[in-house]
Amino acid sequence: MGRYLLRRTAFLLASLLLAASLLFVLLRLLPGDPSNALVSVGATPEQLAAARRQIGSDLPLPEQFASWLGGLARLDLGTSFVSKLPVGSEIAARLSVTVPLTLLAFALAVMVALPVGFLAAWRSDRWYGPLLNGVAQLGVAVPVFWIGMLLVTVFALRLRMLPAGGFPREDWAEPGRALTSLLLPVVTIALVMSASLIRYVRSATVDVLGSDFLRTARAMGESFGGAMWRHGLRNASVPVISILGIELATTFLGAVVVESVFTLPGLGTLLIKGIAEHDYPVIQGVLVVSTLAVLLIGFAADVVQRLVDPRLRAHVGGGRP
């Protein structure tokens, strides 16, 4: 396990470096000029040149690249061209919204999807099995922003039970209010995420239910519940865990849509603003942090899978898992 962890860490750092370099190059290939965000109609050519000088976008690209990588090595993500604030602290502030949003939505989706998916497979011969499956199919097809707007219309505008958007300026100093403003966004994401999870859980359960090992366990005298608990769930969870990892990462990245609908000051809205303003340090910072998060989630899912399934551990000497 020690060698495995070491190798995974090296792989992670290499991926991060590659992503950072790609990001830098791709951003510079886009048309547009970051100094445009700083000037207004009426700016003279001298003012435009001064704006470029101020933010350093007039420097040669290799020089800009070296200073960006150098900063990254010191965990310094630089300063925003536009807001003049350190990108690191801006991202940290945004993570205090996006991370709870993602994790709560994820937890809720898993709590819904596991029993429902299992039920849909186990009771596929009853009327509600196919119904649950059908509802899940439908859920996958519905765009997340539409669900968000629907919830706003019903619970905020019509019933006046919950805020239509925004995040309290006291942040988490008032946990009650912070949670209240995250409730609708969390439910929005969880609805969509659980719809796709239900389908995975269902198909993994269907596989296990028809498996030889489960029949053998029953034949050896175990009850259905016992056999399912000792053998079924463990086997079904291996594919589900890797899907969970992917779903968690997707949610983290996809939070941008929900953050926009609910005007949440999260990482996604920071990224959108950064892109609109060609604020390279902000875009690079957000994407590097997101890349790191996705890599870490993949890493964690991998480790959990190994803990659950001894067969994966046995292969550790061989090729990449």
Binding site: P31, G32, D33, N36, A37, L38, V39, S40, V41, G42, A43, T44, P45, E46, Q47, L48, A50, A51, R53, Q54, V82, S83, K84, L85, E90, A93, R94, F145, W146, M149, V152, T153, A156, L157, R158, R160, P163, A164, G165, G166, F167, R169, D171, S260, V261, F262, T263, P265, G266, T269, L270, I272, K273, A276, E277, H278
Partner: protein, 501 residues
């Protein structure tokens, strides 16, 4: 996605409003007494980019900070009048080249330091500095030097007369010369000091206890920033905000007008929607072609379809709040037959084809589609090219690589750009440039007004651009809120008079 999304939500919201909700709306105004301990929650679409108006802070920082956090030597009131503020008064030498400003006593910065003439000198010089990004830099180009002869006086020397100097000084924030960081912090003399700025969300202003003047009528304000008008209106509907600084969603107005819980005020705006031609290049180098295009477009119908009865037609670059305003809508009237005759006379009887660079945000795409269908009636084919704001700056503004474009121009007194042949639209008329130059060097405001009227008339007759309409400035507030500015001239929003009961 945004506009579609907005449309859907607006439709849903309208349907619900029709069902008759709003029972929990704010209490009816008028009867209750103002509450000086109330904090006013303000909703806005314009978040500052940073906190420095000489370093790209943008429209948002003007809205939040002008008059609230920072003060100038003079104040442009919501009614458009220039009042003394940090200056108690001033004198002008007979040659018009020396202005002596007497400073108000007892003024303190938020950091506690007393205001000195050195701060004023520093503040003016940071706007005129070489690396200044201030949009007002060029309007102060006449300033040659700023001197501080004693503790209470500032003397400004000019290279030539500048009749608008005092007016232009209303935009110059007086900052503490010792302040180190004005992009993420502030040090002004205004009635409020910055509480906290949570980027992407809120900016709060707290009462400044050491303020020299009348303390604010409220206990502070919080600006809540939104990126889309629908979310902003939802916040107003759910009482998350008390007031919206500038309503930009005409479709959403219906849910507030006629609702006793809200008050809708229409004031004067300075924002004009322009169809700007590249006057350097064929076919728009011919005034006759530009006139024909102007006459072929029914501006009244466009305004009606976008703003449903709000806003106005002005027929030139000059809004009614500028002293040299004249109704010039008759200069190039809507007349399709006239347009056809003019096109034929200019040698384009069969019409022509051009690309219209259209910023991707409202109302430009809607206006572009309308213009396309109007011009088709006189044989002109329009190719709509939708671009981002950033592309617009690079392609149109800097490189002048365009045939025609749509753009909103927000400032007052900006007809003077037609005097600069290097400006993006490339209008070049020696006489107009001279009039505009002489107007700023005029001895009296009357003389200035006369010259700018002449220039504006000539610009309109040449159809240097097509001024489609003047935006409305609409403030929507809960009806228990009063004392707010309704004109928002140049994006200012004085918050100190707002009361909530």
């Amino acid at each position: 996605m945004n506009s579609k999304l907005a449309g859907v939500v607006a439709a849903l919201v309208l349907a619900l409003a029709a069902c008759g909700s709003g029972q929990e709306g704010p209490a009816g105004g008028g009867t209750a007494t103002p509450d000086a301990s109330a904090v006013i929650e303000i909703g806005s679409l314009y978040e500052p980019q940073n906190l420095d108006n000489t370093a790209g802070g943008g429209q948002g920082v003007t809205e939040a900070f002008n008059g609230n956090v920072y003060e100038g030597l003079f104040r442009l009131t919501d009614a458009g009048k220039v009042d003394n503020l940090l200056a108690k008064g001033y004198e002008v030498a007979d040659d018009g080249l020396t202005y002596t400003f007497e400073l108000r006593e007892g003024v303190k910065f938020h950091s506690g330091k007393a205001l000195t003439p050195a701060d004023v000198k520093h503040s003016i010089e940071r706007v005129t500095a070489e690396d200044s990004q201030s949009a007002r830099k060029s309007s102060l180009e006449a300033i040659e030097s700023v001197e501080t002869p004693d503790d209470g006086t500032v003397v400004v020397k000019l290279a030539h007369r500048s009749v608008s100097l005092v007016y232009n000084l209303t935009y110059v924030w007086i900052v503490n010369a010792d302040a180190e960081d004005l992009a993420t912090a502030e040090d002004g003399t205004g009635p409020y000091e910055l509480g906290a700025w949570k980027r992407g969300s809120t900016l709060s202003l707290d009462r400044f206890p050491g303020y020299w003047g009348t303390p604010p009528a409220n206990n502070g304000v919080v600006f809540h920033y939104f990126t889309d008008a629908t979310a902003l209106n939802n916040a107003l509907l759910t009482n998350a905000v008390d007031i919206v600084t500038s309503q930009q969603s005409p479709d959403a107005l219906a849910q507030f007008t006629g609702n006793p819980d809200y008050k809708v005020s229409e004031g004067h705006s300075t924002t004009k929607l322009l169809l700007a031609f590249n006057d350097r290049k064929a076919p728009f180098d011919k005034p006759l072609v530009r006139k024909a295009v102007s006459s072929a477009i029914d501006d009244a119908k466009l305004l009606e379809s976008i703003w449903a009865g709000h806003g106005s037609l002005i027929g030139s670059m000059v809004p009614p709040t500028d002293p040299w305003y004249e109704d010039l809508t008759k200069v190039n009237p809507y007349d399709v037959e006239l347009a056809k005759r003019q096109l034929a006379e200019a040698g384009y009887a069969k019409g022509f084809r051009f690309t219209l660079d259209t910023p991707n945000y409202d109302p430009h795409p809607t206006a572009a589609a309308f213009i396309k269908s109007e011009l088709a009636k006189v044989g002109i084919t329009v190719d709509i090219n939708v671009i981002t704001a950033d592309e617009w700056y690079s392609k149109v503004y800097k490189n002048h690589d365009f045939a025609a474009t749509l753009q909103e121009h927000v400032n007052d007194r900006d007809v003077v750009w037609y005097g600069d042949p290097g400006f993006y639209w490339g209008y070049d008329d020696k006489q107009v440039s001279e009039w505009i130059k002489d107007a700023e060097r005029a001895k009296t405001p009357e003389e200035q007004t006369e010259l700018l009227k002449k220039a504006n008339r000539r610009i309109a007759e040449d159809a240097a651009g097509d001024w489609l309409y003047l935006y409305p400035q609409i403030v929507v507030a809960a009806s228990n809120v009063s004392g707010y500015p309704v004109n928002g001239l140049n994006s200012q929003f004085y918050a100190y008079g707002i009361k909530k009961s």
